[in-house]
């Protein structure tokens, strides 16, 4: 959705971390920071200076994030490079509470004068807003982490991989796709991000964290010889991850390119689906997006409370008291987990963007709504429920900002549908139980209403299932559903062997809109009698 913004904002520099106390005078002067970074006391010094300035200006709470982003993007088309950009950006943001209201200001000029100016500006901002506040902001308690450090467990830093290897890999993949007759156009790309982020707060935490992201992808378009039709296949079975270059190598673009091309060509002659009700076997390469839209978003507490009503929408899971412990989202075997701990996933982190150590929690437990996604501001809104459960009022650590220039707010963690722990049901076994159905592989078109009831999903590859067997390719398939009925129509779930972690770099929410990178793990699953439409029309 906001790929352009991502390209502009990502980014940041890995090189030259040498620094040290010798740099301090320069760093704290008016010159921009150059080499100083996480391990450099100068970075911490700047963060503390911002915190002190905010406090002195009257902030009752303040946090500062200084981040340095390095990003690389590389794109090809057929036999040529179409873009290659390396980005290295830097900046900081200060968030404060004053007069009971939030204020936020940010700047790319990372120096001692500017951090003070921006901290004061954030406080002035909060005071301007405080005049219209009716209920002051209250924050749930959190632990203090005076020297926290976390790094993504990356095997190969993508910025150390030779350019030639990246270019060669993409062009070889393109060549493989173009060997397939009918595959006329192919694009492929790689995106890499390394973000180093420091966080300090008035509550005594100072955190240093390093993140990586990698996203290789390919798109093949097949065109009919007479130009009467064209069909595409995106490599949606390769998800973006919070990993290094090892993810690109594991993606095996060259080995998969021919298959993606063949699947695009096959769509040209595939049978158009007849609209009707079908049993669906949804592979996790597809189902992650349905989970994202119909479970992960509606269980965001800011949305539930109306804070996103002007853009991302509200939620049918509202008010929380009517749903927590009461609402049956799906069958007994349905368990939905929120977590930010799975190594190599996009949401994985040591601490969130307000210094909270995230926990694992069950959003849906045995088919019933059990918990909601929270930040420090939101957790107190569920105090009654937590007291009933004998649990402390604490944030689940779901605060995130896409960059130093954006204010942090509630963003989803990895939200996963857990596989059947008792039986390793295979995709073939799920298919065997279908008389008249469709298997969908890969995510395609997606849309859902502003309270997350009515949705429509396409896919990449569609296969007809008759009497327990796949009989051939289909095209122009999309299913429409109403969230509670859809999840309650799930009658079987795959085991650990079918589990796959999908995800997106570009989940949009908030005003100004920000993107959040998130993964969703899921097994394959089967749904009964879902409404399928034909999306093909004649111009």
């Amino acid at each position: 959705m906001k790929r352009r913004d991502f390209l502009l904002q990502g980014g940041a520099a890995a090189a030259g971390l040498a620094a040290g106390s010798a740099l301090l005078p320069r760093v704290l002067g008016a010159q921009p920071v150059r080499e100083a970074w996480l391990a450099d006391p100068a970075t911490r010094e700047l963060a503390m200076r911002a915190i002190d300035a905010a406090r002195a200006a009257g902030a009752t709470y303040a946090d500062v994030r200084i981040s340095r982003n390095r990003q690389q993007s590389l794109g090809t088309r057929e036999r040529q490079i179409t873009f290659f950009n390396d980005s290295d950006t830097y900046g900081f943001g200060v968030r404060v509470l004053a007069s009971g209201a939030w204020g936020f200001a940010a700047s790319r000029d990372v120096n001692a004068e500017e951090v003070v100016r921006v901290a004061r500006q954030a406080v002035a901002q909060a005071r301007a807003n405080g005049a219209a506040m009716k209920r002051p902001i209250e924050l749930a308690p959190t632990e203090r982490f005076p020297d926290g450090k976390w790094s993504a467990p990356v095997q190969i830093d993508p910025f150390n991989v030779p350019i030639e290897e990246k270019v060669d890999l993409l062009l070889r993949a393109n060549a493989e796709a173009l060997k397939v007759q009918g595959a006329r156009f192919v694009r492929s790309s790689m995106f890499f991000l390394k973000q180093e982020k420091s966080f300090a707060s008035t509550e005594g935490s100072y955190l240093e964290q390093t993140y990586f992201r990698a996203y290789p992808s390919m798109n093949v378009t097949a065109v009919a010889p007479d130009f009467s039709d064209f069909q595409g296949r995106e490599s949606t079975d390769i998800a973006p991850r919070g990993m290094g270059y090892e993810h690109v190598r594991d993606a095996r673009l060259v080995e998969n390119a021919g298959r993606w091309a063949q699947e695009a060509v096959a769509k040209l002659s595939a049978k158009a689906v007849q609209p009707g009700r079908y049993d669906l076997v949804l592979l996790p390469t597809h189902l992650w997006l349905t989970i994202h839209e119909s479970i992960a978003h509606p269980t965001e507490l800011d949305r539930i409370m109306g804070f996103e009503a002007n853009y991302a929408g509200t939620s049918f899971v509202s008010p929380p008291a009517d749903f927590l412990g009461k609402f049956r989202y799906g069958p007994e075997f349905m368990n939905i987990q929120g977590e930010r701990s799975t190594p190599g996933t996009l949401s994985a982190t040591g601490w969130d963007d307000e210094g909270v150590k995230p926990d694992e929690f069950l959003i849906v437990k045995n088919g019933v709504v059990n918990d909601l996604q929270t930040t420090r501001e939101q957790a107190p809104w569920l105090a009654d429920w937590y007291r009933q459960q004998g649990r402390p009022v604490r944030s689940h650590g779901n605060s995130y900002a896409q960059s130093w220039a954006d204010v942090q707010f509630q963003r989803m963690p990895n939200v996963n549908l857990l596989p059947d722990p008792a039986k390793d049901t295979s995709v073939e076994e799920l298919i065997a139980g279908v008389k008249d159905g469709i298997l969908i592989d890969g995510d395609g078109s997606f849309s859902i209403d502003q309270q997350r009831y009515n949705a429509q999903f396409g896919g990449q590859v569609f296969k007809e299932i008759k009497d327990g067997k796949i009989t051939g390719p289909l095209k122009d398939v999309a299913y429409q559903m109403r969230t509670p009925e859809f999840w309650n129509s799930m009658d079987a779930i795959g085991g650990r062997g079918t589990y796959f972690i999908g995800g997106s770099f570009f989940d949009g929410k908030g005003q100004p809109s920000q993107v959040n990178a998130v993964n969703h793990g899921s097994p394959a699953a089967r749904f009964r009698r879902v409404n399928v439409i034909n999306t093909g029309r004649k111009a």
Partner: protein, 449 residues
């Protein structure tokens, strides 16, 4: 304090310093700077607000036809030298781009009128006051208002080693609000956009959204199917702007677009929409000025994309224009659509049975062969029977294409500038009329309010 951005003199100096470091055969500098100031509100009070300043410089270097770019947001000598070195290092390593045409020399640019001090100088206090002009009347009527005010003040510059220098400034203000009823059965939206803040009227927007929220209570379910619709300007913009993304000439010529012609070529010169439909973009427009130049420094000019339903132009990059023996077109970041002389009230009076739509939501591509998209109505959908609004209607999902919709036009109003971005972020200018069209395809009902 006025918004920060890089001035013409600063931009020229930074570009010169950057280009002086390069030993490449060819080089281009793109320099963007902006202050984003925003105030967000929910539940009748400000929820977050912020001011952020950033500036980025991208340098693109080429050795022969080997080209690559690098970006930084630090402009000291060492950073500029370093970003040039990175771009050069990458350029030497990548294969030749056979389509690289080299950078442009000096160009002449049209004057734009997209910068206003009224917007650049807007303070957080003034933003909060504008928000209060919505939250207070909403609260006074027992309603819940939510919304977003986004102000962007910035500059953009392009310079090349061959002597091109282009610089422009602009301001944009965008204000939207969604007002909901406390019982959760009604929701109304209003919004607007302008380069000049003094053209914005928060109180009027509040009035519109409040009225819609009240009228939209307890919506009635209607059956999906083909409906006559009266799309308010924002809804028209939501769907008409989808065409722009499909109007690439190369995509059409290569057989991957609605604008591809069976057997080869594209549909330029063909009538494909109702004859009343005309779409243009113009850097010198008084109401919807688009940027004066592309990121390569190519001058944008007034472009007629569709004239009386006939496809007059597709977007030609420099490479594809040269290949096809045409002029490059630039890539406009907004457009204006001609309207008609009807009013929404007249459209309603002339409708036996139809739906009035305020805006669309979660619009996503379904089939590029027909520019088919899906999405939903939202925040003000009303049933029209026998020439009048008889009730609020439940929201519906549609599967439709701007091509089909703009072939079924019955009436149009005078065009207005709208906030066309789903997110409410400030964006390229879009000016459209309200449109009455028949046979708009709704495929299912939504329970969402």
């Amino acid at each position: 304090m006025p918004a920060k951005y890089i001035s013409r003199d600063e931009a020229e100096a930074i570009a010169r310093r950057t280009l002086a470091f390069t030993t490449a055969d060819d080089a281009r500098v793109n320099l963007q700077s902006a202050t984003h100031g925003n105030t967000r509100f929910a539940r009748n009070q400000v929820s977050t607000a912020g001011d952020a300043y950033d500036a980025t410089l991208t340098v693109t270097t080429a050795f022969g036809k080997k080209t690559a770019s690098a970006t930084t947001n630090r402009f000291d000598e060492e950073s500029l030298r370093s970003v040039v070195q990175t771009a050069e290092r990458l350029a030497r390593l990548v294969p030749e781009d056979p389509e690289y045409l080299g950078e442009l020399g000096a160009q002449q640019y049209p004057r734009t009128s997209g910068y206003f001090e009224s917007t650049a100088n807007l303070t957080p206090e003034q933003r909060a006051a504008a928000v209060n002009a919505i939250t207070r009347p909403a609260e006074a009527q027992g309603l819940i208002s939510t919304g977003f005010l986004d102000i962007v003040t910035g500059s953009t510059a392009v310079a090349t080693k061959k002597g091109l220098f282009a610089y422009d400034t602009s301001t944009v203000s965008n204000l939207t609000t969604t007002v909901r009823t406390p019982d959760g059965t009604g929701s109304g939206w209003a919004g607007g956009a302008a380069n000049d803040w003094t053209r914005m009227n928060p109180a009027e927007m509040a009035d519109r959204a409040i009225r819609k929220a009240q009228l939209s209570r307890n919506p009635r379910a209607v059956e999906p199917g083909k409906w006559t619709v009266i799309l308010e300007p924002t809804a028209v913009a939501n769907i008409v702007q989808l065409m722009a993304g499909s109007m690439d000439a190369r995509q059409a010529d290569e057989g991957r677009s609605f604008f591809s012609k069976a057997g080869g070529g594209n549909k330029i010169g063909e009538k494909f929409l109702d004859q009343r439909v005309t779409l243009v973009s113009d850097p010198a427009s008084g109401i919807a000025p688009v940027s004066a130049f592309s990121n390569q420094g190519l001058p944008n000019r007034r472009m007629v994309w569709v004239e009386n339903g006939v496809l007059r132009n597709l977007q030609y990059s420099r490479f594809w224009a040269q290949r096809q023996n045409r002029e490059p077109t630039g890539f406009a970041d907004g457009f204006e659509m001609a309207g008609g002389n009807s009013t929404i009230e007249e459209m309603i009076r002339s409708t036996e049975r139809g739906l009035l739509v305020t805006r669309f939501w979660y619009i996503r591509a379904v089939d590029p062969r027909t520019i088919l998209y899906t999405g939903l109505t939202r925040d003000g959908t009303f049933l029209i029977e026998n020439g009048q609004i008889t009730s609020a209607a439940k929201n519906l999902r549609w599967n439709e294409s701007p091509i089909f919709m703009l072939n079924n036009v019955e009436a149009m109003s005078a065009p207005v500038r709208v906030s066309a971005n789903e997110s409410g972020d400030a964006d390229g200018p879009v000016v459209v009329p309200a449109v009455k069209a028949h046979d708009f395809t709704f495929t299912s009902l939504s329970d969402a309010v």
